[in-house]
C-alpha cells in the first residue's frame, strides 16, 4: 500500500513539477470547449437563394416576398432565365435555386396542378436538406394561405391535419445546450487517453523502466499508481468544464451531477486502460501518439457527438458500443438535459464497466517485466 501511494506521489511530483503541464491540461481544453461550442452549430442560417420568376404575376411576387421575409434566406439574385440561375449554383454563390414556371398563377387559379422547381447545392448535405426543408415549409404555408384567398366558388375544402410540435428537453432548440455536455465529455476522455498513452512508454524511452523492472514492484501496483493521478486530472477537468458550461453557456443541469461524476470516474478507468495498453505495446512516444490518435479520431467521429448514432449504418451503430466517448456523450446529455437518473443510464454504466475490465486486464497483461 505504501508502495502504491509513493508511486502515485511520484507521478504527481512529475506532473506538477513540469510547470507548463497543469495549465496545459486544464486551460487548453476549456478554450477548446468554448471555441467548439460556439462554432459547432448545426442551425442553418443565411441560405443564399436565387429565384427565377418566369411568371411575373401577383402570386409569384407574393411567394417571393414570403421567402425573402424569412430571416434564413438571403435573395442573392433574380436572374431572368433558368440557365442563369443554374450558373449561380455552379459558381457556388447560390445554395438553392427556385424556378417559378410561366403561367404559375393562371394554372393555380384554374385549379390545375402547379409545379415549382427546387435545385439544391448538396455539397454541404446538412445545410442543403435543412435549407430545402425550410423552403418547403414556407411554400406549404403559402399554399394554404392562398387557398383561403381564392374565390369561394373555386375553393375545395380538403380536411387539413394540423401538426403542432413541442421540443422536449431543449425547448428553445438551443444547439449549444446540446453540444456543450457532449464536447466536454469528449475533451476529458481525449486528454486522459493521450496522457496515459504517453506515460509508460516515456519511462521506456528514458530508461527508467529498466530500473523499475528489477524491483519487487508488481505490475498492478505500477499500473494503478499511474492511473490514479490521471483520474484526478480527468475529474478536475470535468469540474472546471461543467462550471464553464454553466457560466458561459448557461447549460441546463437538470439531472443529478453525482451521476455524471460517478459515470466519469468509471469511464476514465476504462479509457486509462486503453491508454496504458497502447503505451505498453509501443516502443516510442511517437508511436504511442499515432496509435492513440487513430483511436481518438474513430471514437470522436463515431461517438454521436456531431452526427446522430441512429442515422449511422447498422454495423457502425454496433461499433459505438465499445466506444467510451459515445457512452460519455450520451450520459452527459441524458443526465444534464433530460434529467436521467442512475437507472436510466444503467446500460451505459454496465457496458463501460465491462470495457474497463477488458482494457485494464489487457494493460496489466501487456506490462511485462521480462522480455
Amino acid at each position: 500500500m505504501r508502495r502504491l501511494l509513493y508511486i502515485v506521489q511520484k507521478e504527481f511530483i512529475q506532473i506538477l513539477g513540469n510547470k507548463a503541464m497543469l495549465p496545459l491540461m486544464t486551460v487548453l481544453p476549456i478554450i477548446q470547449l468554448i471555441l467548439l461550442s460556439f462554432a459547432a452549430d448545426n442551425e442553418v442560417k443565411n441560405v443564399n437563394i436565387s429565384i427565377t420568376d418566369l411568371d411575373h404575376s401577383q402570386l409569384s411576387r407574393q411567394l417571393i416576398g414570403q421567402i425573402t421575409a424569412s430571416e434564413r434566406f438571403t435573395l442573392i439574385g433574380a436572374p431572368p432565365a433558368t440557365r442563369l440561375a443554374d450558373e449561380d449554383l455552379l459558381a457556388g454563390t447560390a445554395d438553392i435555386v427556385l424556378n417559378i414556371p410561366p403561367a404559375f398563377e393562371q394554372n393555380f387559379l384554374k385549379g390545375w396542378p402547379v409545379k415549382l422547381q427546387l435545385l439544391v447545392n448538396a455539397i454541404n448535405g446538412q445545410a442543403a436538406t435543412v435549407g430545402a426543408g425550410y423552403l418547403n415549409a414556407i411554400i406549404r404555408d403559402f399554399n394554404q394561405d392562398i387557398r383561403l384567398e381564392v374565390p369561394p366558388g373555386r375553393q375545395f375544402k380538403a380536411p387539413q391535419i394540423a401538426i403542432s410540435a413541442a421540443n422536449w428537453y431543449n425547448p428553445e432548440l438551443n444547439y449549444k445546450h446540446f453540444m456543450v455536455p457532449g464536447i466536454l465529455g469528449e475533451l476529458v476522455i481525449i486528454l486522459v487517453i493521450l496522457l496515459s498513452a504517453m506515460n509508460t512508454v516515456r519511462e521506456r524511452e528514458i530508461g527508467t523502466i529498466e530500473q523499475i523492472n528489477v524491483t519487487p514492484i508488481r505490475s498492478w501496483q505500477f499500473i494503478l499508481g499511474k492511473m490514479i493521478p490521471f483520474v484526478f486530472i480527468g475529474m478536475l477537468l470535468l469540474t472546471v468544464g461543467l462550471t464553464t458550461g454553466k457560466l458561459i453557456f448557461d447549460v441546463p443541469m437538470v439531472g443529478n451531477l453525482g451521476v455524471v461524476f460517478l459515470y466519469c470516474l468509471l469511464n476514465l478507468v476504462a479509457v486509462l486502460g486503453i491508454g496504458l495498453f497502447i503505451s505498453n505495446l509501443v516502443d516510442t512516444q511517437q508511436q504511442a501518439m499515432l496509435v492513440a490518435f487513430f483511436f481518438v479520431m474513430v471514437f470522436i467521429l463515431m461517438s454521436g457527438l456531431f452526427t446522430p448514432i441512429e442515422s449511422m449504418p447498422e454495423w457502425a451503430q454496433m461499433l459505438t458500443i465499445p466506444n467510451p466517448i459515445a457512452h460519455f456523450v450520451a450520459v452527459m446529455r441524458k443526465v444534464l438535459l433530460k434529467g436521467s437518473g442512475l437507472a436510466d443510464v444503467a446500460w451505459n454504466f454496465r457496458i463501460t464497466a465491462i470495457l474497463a475490465l477488458v482494457f485494464n486486464g489487457l494493460a496489466v497483461l501487456s506490462y511485462r517485466k521480462v522480455r
Partner: protein
C-alpha cells in the same frame, strides 16, 4: 550463498548468438569484472542475471536463487545499475532515493549507513533534479539507489562509461568500500585499465569467455615478447611494423606502438628494421603486458 553461478547459459537474438554456452562462478563477496568490447554479450548476461531476460538454455542462480524460478525473490535482493542513467530526471536527488527505498519496502534511514560515504558527496544537491546533475554525480546517485535496500549482489553494467577520469577513480574506491559490507559485485566495463581493480576478471568476446583469472594471472599468461616502439612518423612505423617478418601483432597503445614479436626476436633487429625503413628517433623498449594486450592477443 551470495555468489553467482552460471551454467551453460546461451541466448540468441534471431540469428545472432549473444551468449554461447557461458559457464562461470562468482564467489560470495567477490568483486568480479566482465571485460569485453561492445557487443560481447555483457549486457545480455546482466539482463539474464537480473531476471529481465530468460535464457534460451542453461541455468543460473543469484545468491542461491534460480533466475527463472525465484525471480521475485531475486528482485528483492539485488541492486542493478543499468548502463545508461535510469533514474527519474524530473525528480530530485532525494525524491529518487526515497522512491526506490519505498519500492523496495524500506526506508532511507534504515539503510543510510551503507550509502553514507557515497550519499554525503551528493547531499548538498539533494533538492536538485537528477537530470541536472553532472555525469559523476548521476552515477553516485544511481549507485545509492541501487544500494538503498542492502542488496546481496550488486550488478553494475558499464557504470563508468561516459564518466570523467577522476569520477571513475572515485567510483572504484567506493566499490572497494562496499567489499567490507560483504556485497558481491559483478561489474562490466569496456575499459581495460579498470580490470586491474577487480579481484577476478573474465574476458568476454562474442558471447564466449576468452580468459578468466585474477588480473595478475591473466597478464602473466601472456608469454610472448612485447616491445614499446616509437619513431617520428608514428603511423608509417605502424604500417611498416605490420609488414615485418618478426611481427606477430602491432597495435596502437598511447604514444607507443605495442609490438608483439615471435620469440627470439631481439631489440637490435627491430631497430635495424625501422632504420632500413628510413625512420628517425627510433625508440624500442621491452614492455610489460597489460590486460589490453592479452585481450588483443586472444581475440
Amino acid at each position: 550463498m551470495n555468489g553467482i553461478e552460471i551454467e551453460n547459459i546461451s541466448k540468441s537474438y534471431g540469428a545472432t548468438l549473444a551468449l554461447d554456452a557461458l559457464t562461470f562462478t562468482v564467489q560470495p563477496g567477490e568483486r568480479f569484472g566482465l571485460l569485453g568490447p561492445d557487443g560481447a554479450g555483457k549486457s545480455t548476461l546482466f539482463k539474464i542475471l537480473t531476471t529481465l531476460l530468460i535464457p534460451d538454455t542453461g541455468r543460473a542462480s543469484v545468491a542461491g536463487w534460480d533466475v527463472n524460478k525465484d525471480f521475485a525473490t531475486i528482485r528483492r535482493h539485488i541492486g542493478y545499475m543499468p548502463g545508461r542513467f535510469s533514474l527519474y530526471p524530473d525528480l530530485s536527488v532525494a525524491e529518487n532515493l526515497n522512491f526506490f527505498a519505498t519500492i523496495f519496502g524500506t526506508k532511507v534511514k534504515a539503510n543510510y549507513e551503507l550509502i553514507r560515504p557515497i550519499y554525503e558527496q551528493i547531499e548538498p544537491f539533494s533538492k536538485r533534479r537528477a537530470g541536472a546533475l553532472s555525469g559523476g554525480m548521476k552515477q553516485k546517485l544511481a549507485l545509492c539507489c541501487a544500494l538503498i535496500h542492502q542488496p546481496k549482489v550488486l550488478f553494475l553494467d558499464e557504470p563508468t562509461t561516459g564518466v570523467d577520469a577522476v569520477s571513475r577513480d572515485e567510483f572504484w574506491v567506493m566499490l572497494g568500500e562496499l567489499k567490507k559490507a560483504g556485497i558481491t559485485i559483478l561489474v562490466s566495463t569496456p575499459y581495460m585499465d579498470e580490470a586491474a581493480r577487480c579481484e577476478r576478471v573474465a574476458l568476454l568476446q562474442t558471447g564466449k569467455i576468452l580468459a578468466l583469472d585474477t588480473p595478475a594471472n591473466v597478464v602473466n599468461a601472456f608469454n610472448q615478447p612485447l616491445w614499446a616502439v616509437r619513431a617520428d612518423n608514428y603511423y608509417q612505423l605502424l604500417l611498416d611494423l605490420r609488414q615485418a617478418s618478426f611481427t606477430e601483432r602491432a597495435e596502437v597503445f598511447g604514444e607507443f606502438i605495442h609490438l608483439t614479436t615471435h620469440t627470439g626476436t631481439d631489440r637490435e633487429s627491430i631497430v635495424a628494421y625501422a632504420q632500413s625503413g628510413g625512420h628517425g628517433n627510433i625508440v624500442v623498449e621491452p614492455a610489460k603486458a597489460s590486460i589490453e594486450d592479452v585481450f588483443l592477443a586472444l581475440m
